[in-house]
Symmetry: C2
Subunit: 283 residues, 2 copies
Amino acid sequence: MNNIHIIGIGLIGGSLAIDIKSKYTNAKIFGIDSNDKHLDEALNLNLIDAKATYDDLQQADVVILSIPVDKAIVELPKVLDKIGDQTLVIDVGSTKLPVCKSVENHKKRRNFLATHPIAGTEFSGPKAAIAHLFEKKTNIICEVEKTTFKLQEKALKLFTDLGMRIRYMNPEAHDKHIAYVSHLSHISSFMLGKTVIEKEKNERDIFDMAGSGFESTVRLAKSSPAMWTPIFKQNRDNVIETLDEYITNLKQFKALMEADDFNAIYTEMENTNHIKDILKGLI
Amino acid sequence: MNNIHIIGIGLIGGSLAIDIKSKYTNAKIFGIDSNDKHLDEALNLNLIDAKATYDDLQQADVVILSIPVDKAIVELPKVLDKIGDQTLVIDVGSTKLPVCKSVENHKKRRNFLATHPIAGTEFSGPKAAIAHLFEKKTNIICEVEKTTFKLQEKALKLFTDLGMRIRYMNPEAHDKHIAYVSHLSHISSFMLGKTVIEKEKNERDIFDMAGSGFESTVRLAKSSPAMWTPIFKQNRDNVIETLDEYITNLKQFKALMEADDFNAIYTEMENTNHIKDILKGLI
């Protein structure tokens, strides 16, 4: 694993670069990015050793595709066109069905492994890259059977070396469930931020009243629209379903308050406290 | 400030006890709690020096009332009945209008100061008490003009010694704005937890997919129903208004997705990213 190409040197690509460099001291890391400023930043931050282009991919041991999911489905086939026979290509996007479909009939399909490391922060770009981002995090692998066994092994070694736990799932199930545990959280947070900003736009001082509870609930509203718009677009139907259920639950809570049924409000919260046990040990 | 009585030795009362003990080494801290188990825990944890009853309040320099807001409006008049002429009584509840109204005509009204330290965690009870919880946090004081000047000074010294910033506000404005920056966050988090638990109840493994984003957005859903039900009840109308606006924003977001208007989705998120600047330096 000496020649690593990372396409898209942002939060995820850059953080992978940091950990790979520290684990594999002989590895040389090449960066490819449509944004020249980001590429220069990545060089200056020492995330990558050199810039590269698709024509260099022939020599790559591993190519990591870490770009917004709408770009990934366009670029992945081009990447597979360019790589060598032994090159492993990994994508790390937050939706899995469209990217799997984009190369289902590609002659190099067996060089590709679809993954989703459940790791990140609300920040983006090369400066957001941090060490140990993937330690003890779950990496979901889709359609593992469609990847050459030898390249599966190579990928697994890489993920294990970076400290990740592996889960296998088909892309349909991934996209359906991730809508609940990730995509809906982002929308609930963005809309919370919007509601408060709208209300308080003329009263900036009011944010002095915001505590750590508001800060943590609204944290994801700092996330990049360029990353999240294509995720919502690609996972449209699943996300709409989660929103339907979320809105229904909020309307029911409001109806209970309007009916002054605070015993039921208590029970609602008590039942949901169960999330404590669910999250314990998982995060 | 040698004789401090804390009524309700939970997260807030207990954390105040820790900081007061470390700042005022001569202070003796007495605990009063309707829950005997909590009182024993508080003694064992060394949060309080001794148990007490309302009959001891005559000698208190400061009484801190840190109990659920429905109990506070019942207990505060009884506390004022019992205290000495120079005793300062502070409440720390999350709603301010009902508690102010509960003693507006009490003959000892000028011994009372209504406050809301914007500090806490999702945990509760004496074991949840932690040091430095109030450092650099905002404390909102309501109807300051109704408290005797000498006791205002005493309270301000205490808050300043614990590291808090002070903001003055009338109780109506407090309850209206806190609904947006605190109460709504809790409901959005509880309903997010509920939505995901309902969906995934038969598929526990799915929570393996939950990352730090879900964890932070759903954190407040671990909060105590015994604390939060009376808050929502006392602030019913303001909370219903915030819920109305939140639900409207979510429905609009869903409508944009259904119309495949992802440019508008992008703009929604981009506008809300502004929350970054708002929160910067405030928290």
